[in-house]
Symmetry: C2
Subunit: 143 residues, 2 copies
DNA sequence: GATTGACAGTTCTAAAATAGAACTTTAGGT
DNA sequence: ACCTAAAGTTCTATTTTAGAACTGTCAATC
């Protein structure tokens, strides 16, 4: 939710706090974490008293498709009779739009059933089993 | 993470538990919640002893773009030298791909700076202020 | 010149949520 | 008889979060 607000151009502590209703304590922690993760940058906008604002790094900006798809899901599945809570306008083409996820190779819209997943080179290994010895099988016992 | 596993075709309690390492208690709660929210359906696959599996509803399947974009973000920003943890193959075109989010109207890839957000008809009203009475101003006190 | 208000936090305690581990139930296998 | 599998439940200990008040620095106001 903090990130959603960031994409809505909110940048300051009080702004996040009042629009989210989150506790100040938690907000402070989350902001620290987001900065530590490199998603936000804490930049001073005023000296004495020192005041900071939080702005998205590139790593943070790259979260945009995630936020967009969440908002879109909400627009489809969490609506009441009144309609969508949030509309998006594409400045480049001037129209109200929905985000659409496509295949980078063929351009077709993606759906779960058409996709197969493979472990990549950076796949993390299966965790070392809690029961590493399947040695309980009688056949293994003797060995 | 439970949902990610769902999209990887995991459906059963033990399967989620062992691949996520989540506590069984928490897993049971989360699954209940996801069923309550209409994202998963709990369907018996065996009578006596009753055994259930959890499968995505349409509402759940519609979360796909969210999961995809999270995985993609991870592939870009959480990699070590080895490379991507997870690869996607598009069955329709046969190629390895990345998900790409575009504007439904003009087809151009989306980026945060090109989008303007408007409150829609279903926007929730601003919360009733905690300090509804700015009556602390002396001028109001007397009244 | 004392008070008020904005802003960005910090500090407390009480109330959830989660971790970690063992236990339960129904049934098949050996 | 004992073991295993599956899908949970139950328990205590630890962590997080909620909720509210407090701090410090400045500017503006009374």
């Amino acid at each position: 939710m903090i990130l959603r607000e960031c994409f809505l151009r909110k940048r300051r502590f009080e702004a996040f706090q009042s629009s989210l209703g989150i506790t100040r304590h938690l907000l402070a922690e989350r902001l620290k974490k987001l900065v530590r993760f490199g998603v936000l940058r804490r930049v001073p906008y005023m000296e004495s008293p020192k005041r900071y604002e939080y702005i998205l790094t590139q790593k943070g900006l790259d979260l945009y498709p995630i936020i967009m798809s969440i908002v879109h899901w909400g627009n489809v599945h969490m609506v009441d009779s009144r309609g969508k809570p949030l509309l998006h306008e594409h400045k480049s083409c001037g129209k109200m739009f929905d985000p659409l996820m496509i295949c980078s190779e063929c351009g077709e819209p993606l759906n779960a059933k058409e996709v197969h997943t493979h472990p990549g080179p950076g796949a993390r290994q299966a965790l070392p089993e809690k029961k590493p010895a399947p040695s309980k099988k009688r056949s293994d016992r003797a060995a």
